[in-house]
Symmetry: C2
């Protein structure tokens, strides 16, 4: 692949371009690239990320063709593949944007168009920035006063359980934090290689990170028949099986669930933490949907709070990193790439290593840090922006709750489709019946990929096949967001229903579609 050292090279200390060009013209034509699929880092090759995978690339192509005037059986592509609220028309929270704009252009601090509480927040943030500018690098862990605000927020959220701002690290979205912590934890070779337990279905950042870091992925299956609950017996099964070929050291939890939308009960979290304590597992709790709980009988419990309530034996020993983000909740500020992690019980020397690792990337985007600050320190009852802020927040969350309900209802009205309640997060993950003939036809692609491709081609609706998240063998799903406006979402769901009926018709003309046919698979 390399041409190796050229014997001419040694004598040619100073070369002439023209001469060299003539000499290498023929060689040039035969040159192989240095970076090819053969020489590419194999761990990069192994990475898969369905949320922006082949189907989304295809959706982009179709969108471009539409723009160029190419006729399609629909007038727009609806990207229900990714939790990208603003792209679906959700409006930013005014107060958040006011604060960030003030930080960005402090001359506005003199403008009467901005409320005092927003100005005070901005001034406080700027005081924490080098040279009072959003343009300075922050400390690698983030702006100090923002870390303090986050700790205060966590304390309040967890009903007074103390939070130390020294344990808070700002991140570039939650993904960056998750990647950094996993990076620390991967070591060993062969059967002592780090195993990482992840839920199936999972958010594919986890499997992608595990591939990239060459860790061992340990699947524990969520219980679809039981609203995607986490079953402790299944955790034990997965752990024991994995112990044979790797060293399980990390347990990842997504609560509320992505793509599955379940909200874990306090009892379940206790069991998980007890299990992690027993088996010496580092717990990573992805809690980016902590503000997205819709079912009236569900409540968000942070892993940290539950850990503390289990007593000092647990709270002083279980190593826990929990993650939050500006991208979800009621703000949906994905583009700012803001987030934080709280890390408990980490060895102080390792903590120094983490800070060192983070310092190589210098700091998370400071405007994202500012956005995070507004989320953890929103207007208070007596402040000028309180009323508008509360109205906007409730409006977003109220609409999401209604859309969660509507999505579940419409999908469950479709023969051959079964959707668990969307208790939280922003996604429905219905199980779909795919007729055997379609399964046979799929061949080179996963049957649910075939399904989603056809859905896209026929309706312009872009969703992600369940195979991108993982699912019990023989079951098929897709993930769709509940983010389009209620009217649009209703149309979308009706289109999905009509498509599904056509699909069933096409592939099983003789066979009457039976509701929940494949549900048994996940009940085993």
């Amino acid at each position: 692949m390399s041409r190796g050292a050229d014997p001419k090279a040694t004598s040619c200390t100073r070369f002439s371009t023209a001469e060299a060009t003539a000499e290498t013209r023929d060689a040039g034509k035969l040159r192989e690239k240095i970076l090819t699929m053969e020489t590419l880092n194999p761990h990069v090759k192994a990475v898969e990320y369905a949320v922006r995978g082949p189907i989304v690339i295809k959706a982009g192509d179709i969108e471009r063709r539409l723009q160029q005037g190419v006729k399609q059986p629909f007038t727009e592509v609806i990207k229900a593949n990714i939790g990208d609220a603003h792209a679906m028309g959700q409006q930013p929270i005014t107060f958040l944007r006011q604060v960030v704009a003030l930080c960005c252009f402090p001359e506005l601090l003199d403008s009467p168009a901005f409320p005092d509480d927003a100005k005070q927040r901005a001034q406080r943030i700027l005081q924490g920035c080098g040279g009072h500018s959003l343009g300075s690098y922050s400390a690698s862990q983030g702006v100090e006063c923002i870390r303090q605000d986050i700790a205060a927020y966590i304390e309040q959220r967890d009903q007074g359980i103390p939070a130390d701002w020294n344990n808070i690290y700002l991140t570039t979205g939650a993904s960056d934090g998750i990647m950094s912590i996993l990076k620390l934890l991967v070591s060993g070779q062969g059967s002592s290689r780090t195993g990482v337990m992840i839920p199936i279905p999972q958010y594919p950042l986890y499997s992608a990170a595990i591939s990239e870091l060459e860790a061992v992925q340990i699947n524990y299956y969520l219980d679809e028949a039981n609203c995607w609950a986490l079953d402790i017996g299944e955790l034990r099964r997965a752990y024991r099986a994995a112990k044979q070929h790797c060293q399980p050291r990390v347990l990842c939890i997504i609560n509320p669930g992505n793509p599955t939308g379940q909200v874990q009960s306090k009892k379940c979290i206790e069991e998980v933490l007890h299990f992690a304590y027993e088996e010496n597992l580092f717990v990573m709790s992805d809690e980016v949907y902590q503000d997205n709980v819709y079912s009236p009988d569900c409540q968000f419990h942070s892993f940290k709070k539950v850990l503390y309530e289990m007593g000092p034996e647990y709270s002083s020993s279980v190593e826990l990193a929990s993650f939050h983000s500006t991208s979800k909740g009621y703000t949906g500020e994905c583009g700012f790439r803001g987030g934080y992690m709280e890390i408990l019980n980490m060895d102080p020397e390792v903590k120094a290593q983490l800070v060192k690792l983070l310092s190589v990337r210098l700091c998370p985007p400071v405007s994202g840090q500012a956005a995070m600050d507004v989320i953890v320190n929103p207007p208070r009852r007596h402040e000028a922006s309180y009323t508008q802020f509360t109205k906007e927040k409730n409006s977003v969350l109220g609409a999401l709750a209604e859309k969660a309900k509507m999505t579940e209802q419409i999908l469950n009205s479709v023969p051959g489709m079964k959707c668990n309640p969307v208790q939280g997060a922003m996604y429905a993950f219905p199980q779909i019946f795919i007729p055997p003939r379609a399964v046979q036809e799929a061949l080179s692609v996963a049957p649910d990929m075939l399904y989603c491709l056809k859905l896209l081609e026929e309706t312009g609706i872009c969703v992600v096949p369940g195979s991108g998240f993982g699912q019990q063998e023989g079951t098929y799903h897709f993930r769709m967001t509940i983010l389009p406006s209620a009217e649009k979402l209703k149309v979308l769901l009706e289109k999905v229903r009509d498509f599904h009926l056509r699909f069933l018709q096409e592939y099983s003309p003789q066979e009457a579609p039976v509701r929940r046919t494949s549900q048994e698979h996940s009940e085993t």
Copy 2:
């Protein structure tokens, strides 16, 4: 390290917290952590990043003590360790901040306080964002119209040599882009493991990334006696030596140099590209200081332009990634974490793999992308903001040029210190004579670390030891930024001079300090 499977565990499917707490109380006390220095990812452990290393942590401690009222022989800590312009008092470019603030809070588009050209820029950027919001994820490669603006900028910069926006990728600062490209390139085991050629002295992101990715670092030494020029013979030597134990596949260049401040001549760039062509090396050219050229007899030439001027044999085959950033130049917007890379001649399949890899992190911060857009698409001659923009830009660059000169002059007036001209970038990297007695005393730390620690403790000035960047054995340096205001920089340099004289006195009372004593080392 792991307690292993607990025999109780199997029977205890549903556990009681109180019971478990009592049972494990004693075990709890003896628990070992999961993540310790022993189990930490060894590649993370191997990472070093001097720019925010031990001396900067110490500077932070001293700063905190000062704030608490603890007396020190100085009244403030001056952080000349990092190219963080705003933290050193540089003011943001008004136009840039106006555009980003408008994007952030589009209600301001109706405000008469903002000029029309800024509004037009903001509207164009928002048109490119999903839902016309900075809060949407962009495509993994960045906002399309920003990529187009970048391509247009490169074309203009390179006197018409075409740039294709499909080759442009927005990044989270340049560091993120550099890391991503290196990640692709690392493969092979043993003597076929990827070797990465880096200049010595280097910016330690490179060595850190190489450690993290477990690639092989190949040092080529810049010629200190010749203004830190890159010598092609030295490249060949380093390549040949490395060939014995690894597969050199990547050649990294920093131009203008960091920490060394040299600006490469066109001839030198031609030689480097010819060498890369000959030896089949992927070229990574770090050009984040392309706007920071101060010497009247120097000019920035992009690797891309030179490659094209060498003719199609080269321009159609040499694989090249070049990097730019919002953090340097005349804007110094580090906190926005904006940047881009242009990638030439990459295998299309590998490109798809790159996009897949980037998509896992979703997108670079969109506000940073907006900042990057302003840099590549500044006000034009006929536009409202042109005069103020040009004044501000010239003021920053003019001041930097003066400070570059002053720094070189004052440092060269100090006996036992020798500083090459600061032709570009933002740093001086003087060689310092360290008396043998001080070298002996240093023992467990590098002698220049001892020097910098003492400088910090005695004067409050924080600079980074040369050992953090790499240097010829037996030579000692430090890197300092030229970013403080001219008045402050002058005081700082005088303090450095006085400290250096005291240091020489302390460690070599009998020996008259001889100017350039250790210079010979780098002339070998």
